[in-house]
Assembly symmetry: C2
Homo-oligomer: 225 residues x 2
């Protein structure tokens, strides 16, 4: 019974996500979906990211939390449209929430849409939001075994960002082992080591995003012609 | 429809958890349920905890993960009965899983049962496992705002353990602010600052456990007489 309802919920989500994906393609929107444990540094990374864009860039953020609009307030300081999605008890964002908030904020492409999911390595992995890529963050304080323990999200993510690398001298963490574990789950996963505090790796991340954006724009152009 | 099924699942879980609670009471078992984000140090704390018990203590551990038996293998080295619960895709332990594994391991009181939940601040908060206390761990690398963002688990926990305090000199984290936020959600919550690496706070944690165990034994004695 529970499985039947869950399947129904997921297939309804897939239908809505497919419509979002089509909309992103039609409008030339690059949408990325950031997923991690609570406190792995999604918001800090987005702060660095927004700060790196020229002020007139077409960039927006949807940020999800069970409660509070702390993250939206932190991110709004960078001058781009930011909207908080408060999920109440729900442990992930879904396509319906994204669709509603995009409509309410009047977001249109071309541009980049960052989605910061609820802090959770489990539930967000099953919910397609129409994104071009899921991106999983793993902080160096969390241990190298997380890709093996939470394989779903590492399997579905195009990129793993190792965050808080400034703490590497103070923790027992082997970036090599974390990468090896991630590749056991997803051999083609890209990886970037990054510290939002020192700025290490932020250039690489911006380059990675730029390459993905070009791909999306090619798809949009190909669809128009 | 989804809400109806969720309600049914939760009420069925509550029924099983009540039976577990009665069993713990009858047998003089102290059961505590450890909840945190992935990588906040639940297993490291249990390693320190098991090491602190005399070898002939009646102590057992159930440890939950989506995949791998890494944690059970880590914890088995201390000589106490440890059992891994692999949940597959499920984002939390439930009373049925606990009941089945307790029966399979032939666990009987009096004694202490540690349950290490799946790494997740959201889903485990709704599932009663019959425990005497939920204990939430928050590592100092995760940020002070987590009690406000994940109020459910902080509201339901008797104790908040601030972990990885050895990293305090290297992160921007105010223990005072974290505690203030936790008390906004749950004014009576106990707190212990602890580092499994240096051992700071472990004595306090063992004392806290001892006090709770005495309470449970009084309840059992009162029920018998």
């Amino acid at each position: 019974m529970r499985e039947v309802v869950e399947k129904k919920v997921l297939s309804e989500n897939d239908r809505l996500a497919a419509a979002l994906r089509q909309r992103y393609r039609d409008e030339g929107i690059l949408c990325v979906n950031l997923v991690s444990s609570p406190g792995s540094g999604k918001t800090a990374l987005l702060e660095k990211t927004l700060a790196a864009f020229p002020k007139d860039s077409a960039v927006s953020v949807l940020t999800g939390d069970l409660q509070t609009d702390n993250d939206a307030r932190r991110l709004a300081r960078y001058g781009f449209p930011v909207r908080q999605i408060v999920t109440g008890g729900t442990c992930h964002l879904d396509a319906r929430m994204v669709d509603r908030h995009l409509n309410e904020m009047g977001f249109h492409g071309p541009g980049i849409l960052f989605i910061e999911n609820v802090g959770n390595l489990v539930c967000p992995s099953s919910y397609d939001l129409g994104e071009a890529a899921k991106i999983v963050l793993l902080s160096v304080t969390e241990g190298e075994d997380k890709p093996l323990k939470y394989p779903g999200i590492f399997h579905r993510s195009a990129l793993m960002i190792l965050t808080k690398t400034d703490l590497l001298p103070h923790v027992e963490f082997s970036a090599e082992l974390a990468l090896e574990n991630a590749r056991k789950i997803h051999p083609e996963i890209d990886t970037i080591a990054l510290s939002s505090r020192t700025g290490e790796g932020v250039d690489l991340w911006m380059t990675w995003l730029g390459v993905l954006q070009q791909k999306v724009q090619h798809q949009t152009a190909a669809a128009i012609t």
